[in-house]
Amino acid sequence: MRRISSPEALSALLVLLPLLAVPWAFKPYTANVLAVYMIYGLLAMSLGLIWGYAGIMSFGQTAFFGIGAYAYGAIGLNLIDRTHQTHAALLGGLAAAALLAAVVGYFMFYGRISDVYASIITMALTLVLFAFAVSTGGDEWVIGVARFGGFNGMFGQGESSQNIANFQIPPVTLWLPGMAAPFEFKINRESTAGYFLVLGASVVIYLLVRFLLRSRLGRVTVAIRENEARVASLGYDTRFYKLALFTIAGAIAGLAGMLFAAWGRFVNPDRFGLGFAASTVVYVLLGGRTNLLGGFVGAAIIGHLTSYLAEVVPFTTIPGDAGPWVTFLMEASRRIVREAPLLVQGAVLVGVVLVLEDGITPPLFRFLTRHRRWGWWLLLPAVLLYFGHRVACLQADLCVF
């Protein structure tokens, strides 16, 4: 176990060091984008935790993400003007996500529903929540001053003459006893606090989950994944252990959702949509589900891939005198690029399942374990190449982020 996990820890460190330097080396936009990749990575890690370590495939991990985001938004909007901090919103979002996960998990595991059925039920849950969030467009759908807003997403109620920032979901705001003024975690030209909040949360949760997996709970759930009947016959209540891990994973997804709502100061029904659910599964599948880093790796790769696709394909207008074939090809490529996220996700799902069963990181870590002496030197150029390329294109003002 030690030997397999050590390349994981070392590569985590290797990625963490450049990430610490990002706000000083790059534009605020880079920090902003990397923050949202880390938020998605955190969500993907929560799915990897229950999928890879307990064998529960949840298509609906985004349900807990969305609930966390909406609960944080509703409580935050209501309390920020009175208390000038979002402590209650953070606790409320976490509690809402954990509670939903506990209730759904109770019905699934105590109903002894098989693995495949559990996937279907979690997926149905997300789709129903999507239908719910979409149908809340009317004026009557409010909690205090927070409007659900249907497709438009959650906003506070305010006069249209006011600055929009006054009724957006508040950023994470701390005002602990002893602090002179409330502190807001934002990402912009002046502040990188929001970036470090997300980075810090990712690192802390990652370490906590690693610790958790070494505990009794983690070891029993891994055993359940391998052979549930045997674990049950040894006297463990397998339903309870599964429910506990599922609830913890739901709470982590909810935390990611809260960070997301505070990051974009916005949440809309897309977080419950099938596309987002699919991309979360794709992150885990591509990155690898047998370790905790896989989700982060998958989120970063897919995130970069889709934004590159949007960058490289020219959005020029079709000239009027172009022949029918040129017009057809340009129109076709434009339409394909518009649907690129969906097509990329679909292709990755099919491709990884058929070709690369375990995802990217497990073979990589196996390689690093086998060639401990020189394997790392292969990783170094990759990291240098990536950051060198980012710096170069920033210097030339060519890249979008």
Binding site: G111, I121, G346
Partner: protein, 310 residues
């Protein structure tokens, strides 16, 4: 409740059941017989609707020809997908599920690339008939008839034809069937194609009453799966009984508001209320909650419960 209200209520329950049967039939075949969770089933439904749309809008064929064409086209797509992807993944249920989800996303993307992300309607010429003070669309009666016809044909096909016997033998014991000279990969392929074709037929039949849009399958896939899971291992009777139970609940809650909650919003006519029940959306919520409760009590589904008692 006066007589005509009762009749309308009964007709709406019948309509809910019809829709659930149409959605679930192909899925039940693929899941119940092959144990494959086919998440692309919603897109087979969409493909059926788009076949009708193409036939009517672009090829100017009569509606009924489009509706006959749709199951054939979609069965072809299903057979191609089985041959290309699913064949390699038998015995790995979770991977099949993920791969079919990938196929589902690819199909949505592809249909959007071709037809654009707009909702299109299919015109049709059937009126309403009167039930006391109410009027009711004739087309819904047609749908119920077709659904019943499809169920009966599937039953007859599997019960009495040579194909049906070979397919059942393959599903019951692939090795033995193979030893007896049945081409088992071909049987799996054809069964999958049949399930896809049934979804295509459902999409074609429902196309005139719903908006035809590339993401339409997503709206129905959850309900179809819930119906199949609640139905349990017996394909036809299980689907019918779970569709009946769930359809009854859905129609009832869609129709009658249970209670109202006042909220603090700024509504144009002042009383700001949320009505729980009385809309299609709450019907679907009720369906989901009822299904989860039912699965807590009967983990093997309704027909699994019958089997246990025998």
């Amino acid at each position: 409740m006066s007589l005509d209200t009762a009749v309308i209520m009964a007709l709406e329950i019948l309509n809910s059941i019809t829709i659930l049967v149409l959605l679930a039939l192909g899925l039940a075949l693929i899941f119940g017989m092959m144990r494959i969770v086919n998440l692309a089933q919603g897109e087979f439904f969409t493909a059926g609707a788009f076949t009708v749309l193409t036939a009517v809008r672009y090829a100017h064929l009569p509606l009924w020809i489009g509706m006959l064409l749709a199951p054939c086209v979609v069965a072809g797509i299903g057979i191609a997908i089985e041959w290309l992807i699913i064949r390699r993944l038998y015995g790995r249920p979770l991977d099949v599920m993920l791969a079919t989800w990938g196929v589902s996303l690819l199909l949505i993307g592809l249909i959007t690339v071709i037809f654009g992300a707009v909702t299109q309607g299919i015109p049709f010429a059937l009126g309403n008939f009167a039930v006391g003070r109410y009027s009711y669309p004739e087309y819904r009666i047609v749908m119920t008839t077709v659904a019943a016809g499809l169920m009966l044909s599937v039953y007859l096909l599997f019960r009495y034809t040579g194909f049906g016997r070979r397919a059942r033998a393959t599903i019951a014991n692939p090795e033995m069937a193979s030893a007896a000279g049945i081409n088992t990969p071909r049987m799996f392929m054809l069964t999958f194609g049949l399930g896809a074709g049934l979804a295509g037929a459902a999409g074609a039949i429902m196309a005139p009453i719903v908006g035809v849009v590339p993401t339409m399958g997503v709206l129905y896939i959850a309900r179809a799966f819930i119906t199949v899971v609640v139905g349990g291992p017996v394909v036809l009777l299980g689907t019918l009984s779970s569709a009946s139970a769930l359809g009854f609940i859905e129609a009832l809650i869609s129709r009658f508001p249970l209670f109202r909650i006042e909220t603090a919003g700024h509504c144009a006519p002042p009383p700001c209320e949320i009505s729980i029940g009385g809309s299609a959306f709450f019907g679907q919520i009720a369906l989901l909650i009822f299904a989860i409760l039912l699965l807590r009590l009967l983990p093997q589904g309704i027909s699994g419960f019958w089997r246990q008692r025998e």
